[in-house]
């Protein structure tokens, strides 16, 4: 998991590379580096953030260069392990995002042939392989070298006096088209300042990029790849008044819901076909990782309640080891970036089993959208904060919209559902307007070492998401539990120093959650409850309450999620954590 960037044109590459790299730091930021060619290749790298690297550099003259920001997989974060990596002669530099599985074997081979490899990374074998095969044709040498490699990669190869050579397999890379200059990046936000047209490379593509053009080859033959116009604007990738991207993105959620709905409603047709020809609506498999997995868990409740079919939810990373899919079955796969390696692997497995795959993703042209049979796009825009917020909410909206046409309710019920959905922007805005009260509750949690989140039914995944958000950005140990499960073990951990955040919904779980709160109170844990406006019973029972706007219970995960997002944000802020860039984490994990 890393970010890569390349520039070729007539401007000085150095500031462009640094600027773009800083926008890729959400993909990893334990070390970084750039290489610029002007006659010879100059490499600057270290185990520092991009800003610090920028301060270390004197202005470089070259107009061709590559850069990298790293999230360590093979080899600890250090200067020697940072990219770019070079061959023995220092003439070839490579940046790489991905994992090379057979790198040990290749290392030994290369060492045996007299190559000197100095880092612990898997990447370093690539420049040496290219060096070995180079006979005046850089693209040919790259192609030859990649033939030896097993694993995933998006690479950019820099050699003085040559075009940039780009290749991808199972890791994302895009080419941004400018005016007599071109850009290569892991993701669109990195180049929003410079280009508004992009080409998405496909797995197995190799591209030769000059200032004037891009030639894409595949299996030796030249192919054309369609140009896409970027709909995201630079503004989407700036903080605009807010202290952190996370808070900005939390505040964007009413608009995200409105935009996502406007698109779905305008289409005036089901978001995707959930039926399978012979059997109609059968069962459904939902697959995802991380926060998207919790969206999938909410999706289970939505589909089961509205459509009345059995739904199985699995972690993509677990499903890949022995999970079973039936031919002719249906699966919904959720990935914000569309590049999550574990999720992509699961889609391939499902494809192989003859299962129809519907992908929910936020990135047009992403790998997931190309592998799936159908794609439902969320309209969350670029999400920069490592902790996912608006993409999660957009995924929920997509799931509601997927289920809606198949809902087993009468016409009146359907109308109410649509009114309820259309009201969500206002309800979420009301949560945001209540921010000061949520921040105050957060300050009371900030001193704790352990916090439990409980919810039941459709809000159980919200408890999991709330705990995940808190862990991610505030470093407080938190656990999400189904409210009924706390007594099967975790009760032993309760006490006056361990607060419990209880999500109380106005549905069939209400009484059970109240009973749970009473049991917790008996163990002296302070209880912070999320309760609907006007719920005096909970107010009397809990130590403190955050009121949430009244909504139909099926939509309660949307408003409750926004509350737990703000809670996590303000706890982390109180503790002085680096909210947008939590330690050891990266935005989308493109390694398994």
């Amino acid at each position: 998991m890393c970010g890569i960037i390349g520039y070729i044109g007539s401007k000085r590459a150095h500031p462009i590379l640094l600027n773009s790299l800083s926008k890729l730091e959400y993909r990893g930021y334990d070390s970084c580096g750039i290489a610029v060619a002007s006659g010879s290749i100059e490499v600057y790298k270290d185990a520092v953030r991009v800003k610090a690297l920028g301060k270390m550099l004197a202005p470089l003259e070259g107009t061709v260069g590559i850069g990298h920001t790293r999230w360590a997989t093979h080899g600890e974060p250090s200067k020697v392990n940072a990219h770019p990596h070079c061959d023995c002669t220092g003439r070839i530099a490579v940046v790489h995002n991905g994992v090379i599985n057979n790198y040990q074997k290749l290392r030994e081979q290369l060492a045996g042939e007299g190559h000197i490899l100095s880092s612990q990374t898997d990447t370093e074998v690539i420049p040496h392989l290219i060096e070995k095969y180079y006979d005046g044709d850089l693209a040919g040498a790259v192609e030859h070298a990649l033939g030896d490699i097993e694993g995933s990669y998006a690479i950019i190869v820099l050699m003085a006096g040559e075009p940039l050579v780009v290749a991808r397999k199972d890791s994302p890379v895009i080419i941004g088209l400018g005016d007599r200059e071109n850009f290569i990046a892991s993701d669109v936000p990195a180049i929003l300042d410079y280009a508004s047209r992009v080409i998405y490379l496909e797995d197995g593509d190799l591209a030769v990029v000059t200032a004037d053009g891009v030639r894409v080859k595949r299996d030796g033959a030249e192919v054309t790849r369609e140009e896409h116009k970027i709909l995201w604007s630079v503004q989407d990738a700036q903080k605009a008044g807010y202290e952190h991207f996370m808070l900005k993105e939390i505040h964007e959620q009413p608009k995200v819901i409105r935009d996502t709905l406007a698109e779905y409603i305008a289409a005036a047709r089901p978001a995707a076909d959930l039926t399978s020809g012979a059997t109609g609506l059968g069962s459904m498999l939902l697959l995802a990782c991380g926060t998207s997995y919790y969206a999938a868990l909410v999706g289970k409740y939505i589909l089961e309640r509205l459509v009345g079919i059995p739904v199985r939810v699995e972690l993509a990373s677990e499903f890949n080891y022995g999970g079973q899919a039936s031919a002719g079955g249906r699966a919904i796969v959720i990935t914000q970036s569309g590049e999550t390696a574990d999720t992509l692997k699961a889609i391939k497995k499902l494809n192989g089993a003859g299962c129809r795959v519907i992908a929910i993703t936020n990135v047009v042209g992403s790998s997931a959208s190309r592998l799936a049979d159908q794609t439902v796009y969320t309209r969350a825009g670029p999400e920069i904060s490592v902790a996912a917020t608006k993409s999660f909410i957009a995924q929920l909206i997509a799931l509601y919209w997927l289920a809606w046409p198949y809902a087993r309710v009468d016409v009146r019920g359907l109308d109410d559902l649509v009114v309820g959905l259309r009201q969500l922007p206002v309800k979420v805005q009301q949560v945001l307007d209540n921010e000061a009260a949520i921040a105050q509750s957060a300050r009371r949690l900030a001193g704790s070492d352990n916090i439990f989140y409980i919810g039941r039914g459709i809000n159980y995944p919200v408890a999991l998401e709330g705990a995940l958000k808190l862990k991610e950005i505030s470093y407080i140990h938190a656990e999400g539990y189904a409210a009924g499960e706390l007594k099967h073990g975790p009760f032993a951990l309760l006490g006056s120093g361990t607060p419990v955040v209880a999500i109380v919904a106005q549905d069939n779980t209400y009484e059970a959650v109240l009973t749970g709160i009473k049991e917790i109170k008996a163990r002296k844990s302070p209880v912070l409850a999320l309760a609907a406006e006007g719920d005096d019973t909970v107010t009397a029972l809990a130590d403190s309450v955050i009121t949430v706007p009244q909504v139909d219970p099926i939509f309660s995960p949307v408003v409750n999620t926004v509350v737990v997002q703000l809670l996590a944000y303000y706890v982390a802020k109180e503790r002085g954590c680096p909210i947008d860039f939590p330690r050891n984490l990266a935005k989308s994990v493109t390694v398994e």
Partner: protein, 392 residues
């Protein structure tokens, strides 16, 4: 030539409640755009692209909408005024980021590019003034040979009908005169007392202020009179559109609807069969209007849901209201009490945001309903209802 503008957008606009309970006055929508956006667009059209926005009251609403300014072709820096003590105090917050010369504008008065076209070439310090019919509401400026003689705030008797627009051209010198006062006119009077000259320029351009909720309607109608038609979304066959009608992306207008411009309809809306929308109406994003409802000279906020067979005239409906069938908000002359003033106006209903009205509710002319009110079927609304009222 000026390159920078400091826009004061921290204020609340108390007399505009309930519409300003959750947003600053500058974020009130007129013809589907916040007032602040008109100010920013006027500046961008005049070549002023470096903006400082002084924000305070519900500043997040401004962040969310304006962003870094990219969408409007400007570069925005935000400065926070924690307590809204006055315009001079607001301006002082921007002292560190101010350039040598800059414009100062209120972010909650609606202007257009021609308002400031001549002003940006005037030598600071300078005040933009305008002739108005009712000067006692404003700061009246006495002018002598193109120079300001003095400013009197809300005089009992106006010596002239020339008033201060709150638009200024300053050098950094203003900060030292602003330190000891709360409002900019006082700082100007200090400057005059110190023997400095302040130029005055009169504008013929648009300069509109919203003071009371029903002013939203008059501004809306003035701005709509200048719009040009554009069509997004889906317009079913059998829809009649005449005049300047703007339809946003993803909006569906169903068969039999009759729409007379000037009308603006936002994106993602569902306008039902045989709905009649008459001039001068603005409808926000994600709005549903069910069949056979008539809307005239009104402003409907985002996310509003209006049932079948309603009549809505000269009314403002806040964001997120759910109004069931056969709602009547007819217009008529009424005396509306706001603070200690009770002007006589011709107006329908003013509904705060997130109100929930069941079937057959009738609103008397001039009613002001607070945010989050709930009203049972067949009830009659009159007078002024506080936030979160239950009418059972």
């Amino acid at each position: 030539m000026m390159k920078q503008a400091i826009v004061l957008a921290a204020g609340e606009g108390q007399r505009l409640r309930p519409f300003t309970v959750t947003r600053p006055k500058g974020m009130l929508a007129i013809a589907d755009k916040p007032i602040l956006q008109y100010v920013v667009e006027a500046l961008a059209a005049s070549g002023i692209r470096r903006l400082v926005l002084v924000v305070g009251y519900h500043k997040e609403q401004i962040f969310d909408y304006m962003g870094a300014g990219e969408r409007f072709g400007v570069d925005i820096t935000y400065v926070t005024q924690e307590a809204q003590l006055g315009t001079a105090h607001a301006l002082l917050q921007a002292r560190k980021v101010a350039e040598d010369e800059f414009l100062v504008l209120p972010g909650d008065n609606l202007i257009s590019a021609d308002t400031i076209a001549d002003f940006i070439a005037v030598k600071p310090e300078a005040v933009l003034v305008k002739r108005v019919d009712n000067p006692v509401r404003y700061g009246v400026v006495s002018i002598d040979g193109g120079e300001v003689g003095g400013i009197v705030e809300k005089p009992r008797e106006a010596g002239s009908n020339i008033v201060n627009t709150g638009i200024y051209a300053f050098t950094k010198d203003i900060f030292e005169f602003a330190e000891s006062v709360l409002d900019i006119p006082d700082a100007l009077n200090n400057m005059l007392a110190a023997g400095r000259t302040i130029n005055a320029l009169e504008t013929e351009g648009t300069w509109l202020d919203v003071v009371y909720p029903w002013d939203i309607l008059s501004l809306n109608s003035i701005v709509l009179s200048q719009i040009k038609a554009s069509r997004g979304g889906t317009i079913e066959s059998g829809v009649f559109l005449k005049g300047e009608v703007v339809v946003g992306e993803g909006t569906v207008i169903r068969s039999g609807a009759y729409i007379l411009g000037p009308v603006v309809i936002g994106s993602g809306c569902d306008i039902g069969p045989h709905v009649c929308i008459l001039p001068a109406t603005s409808i926000g994003d994600n709005v549903v209007i069910a069949s056979f409802t008539e809307v005239r000279n009104s402003v409907i906020g985002d996310d509003v849901n209006i049932g079948a067979g309603g009549i809505i005239s000269d009314s403002v409906i806040g964001r997120g209201c759910i109004i069931k069938g056969r709602f009547t908000a007819a217009s008529g002359p009424s005396e509306v009490r706001v603070n200690d003033e009770s002007p006589l106006v011709n107006v329908g209903a003013m509904l705060g945001e997130d109100c929930h009205l069941e079937n057959n509710v009738v609103a008397q002319p001039g009613v002001i309903v607070g945010n989050g009110c709930q009203v049972r079927a067949t009830r009659l609304l009159s007078g002024r209802l506080p936030d979160r009222s239950l009418v059972y």
